[in-house]
Symmetry: C2
């Protein structure tokens, strides 16, 4: 294990689920948990849980299961959420405003410390203790504030320009909420959050009586 084998995206996403389940188990004072129980809680299979974890090491004890607290720590390390990340958010509209107060982000170590917008009425205003900066100063302020991750929540029409600026500021990780594909260099990680997509999947399933399998997150 721990070879240079490529880990699949699905495995990483499931690690997030295991982490979440382990947080609940820890709060409920469980010491150990079996792959079977972990699978049940996230609607997966026990074999899947064991295989996923096996890519990163041997965390369990045969006959007993996995130590809750320790496995949670291990997964946090693997996912890189055993630290805090300095995050900036661009676009204080609809979605953006909601994300500033979204507790789940800070709980996982993603601290939003900078806000940007292009609207004069918003610039200078205070959201959860953070003053909104003018987007014209984006590049300079991103580096000054040592930002590592940028969340983009601007209209689709301007998203590419904003992302170009972000890339030029040297940022290597972007989370995009605009419903548009964005070009970035190979060394920049970008992920897309497309909230209509799951609704469309539901709609497809209803119209086609599509059989259900797993419930992917």
């Amino acid at each position: 294990m721990l070879g240079k084998k490529r880990i699949s995206e699905s495995t990483i996403h499931r690690l997030s689920l295991y982490y979440r389940a382990l947080s609940v188990l820890e709060k409920d004072n469980y010491d150990t948990v079996s792959s079977k129980e972990l699978a049940r809680r996230e609607k997966l299979t026990p074999a899947q849980v064991r295989k996923d974890l096996s890519f990163f090491g041997s965390f369990g004890t045969r006959g007993l299961g996995y130590p809750v607290k320790e496995l949670k720590t291990q997964i946090a390390g693997i996912l890189g959420i055993d630290r805090t990340w300095r995050v900036a958010l661009v676009g204080i509209g609809n979605i953006g405003s909601a994300l500033v107060s979204y507790k789940e982000f800070s709980r996982q170590g993603f601290q939003i410390v900078k806000l940007f917008d292009n609207d004069q009425r918003k610039i200078g205003s205070n959201h959860k203790g953070i003053v909104v900066s003018d987007i014209r100063n984006l590049q300079q302020e991103l580096s000054d504030a040592k930002i590592e991750v940028v969340i983009v929540a601007v209209p689709a029409t301007v998203a590419q320009y904003i992302v170009d600026d972000i890339v030029n500021a040297g940022i290597k990780a972007i989370l995009n909420f605009a419903p548009v594909n964005l070009k970035v260099p190979d060394d920049v990680y970008i992920r897309h959050e497309n909230m209509s997509m799951e609704l469309e999947y539901l709609s497809f399933a209803m119209v086609n009586n599509h059989a259900q399998k797993r419930v992917r997150a």
Copy 2:
């Protein structure tokens, strides 16, 4: 084609991407588009595009490509977004408030027509022309309003109770924003929107210098 073969989740998600790209192409007055161009715009491969579409029919013309307008209409039909869906939203907090005004939903035919909350200060208040109802009347009002899809944006701790009520009201499609897995009967479709997951993927990629492949949405 059109046999009872199971269509993969990835294919459906990519249909959403094609639909989005076709909307742009239509606005820009393109008459036809090749699988190559469609692939370029959504960072996929031409073969993938053709294979995906082939599951549902033969929409293209050899030597020419696909008719933009017609293909868009066809995909809308497949996804079930060639109609409107009556949607209710439960939980007018942080995320919930943002979703009420989220244009992308209405653009795809998902019309939010009912709002619910348990907070007395919110009940009776008006959001985008919709008065917030008391969650105690959830079941009754969901059927009275002929709701077909419910979006859940309540805290994780109460999400299962809410979902049980929704299921009892006969709803067959649920979009869940609470970061928790929820149990529903086999005939109810539920999808999860987990916004931390993509941030965690970014964090994983950065910590592990993970090579990038496709950009999934």
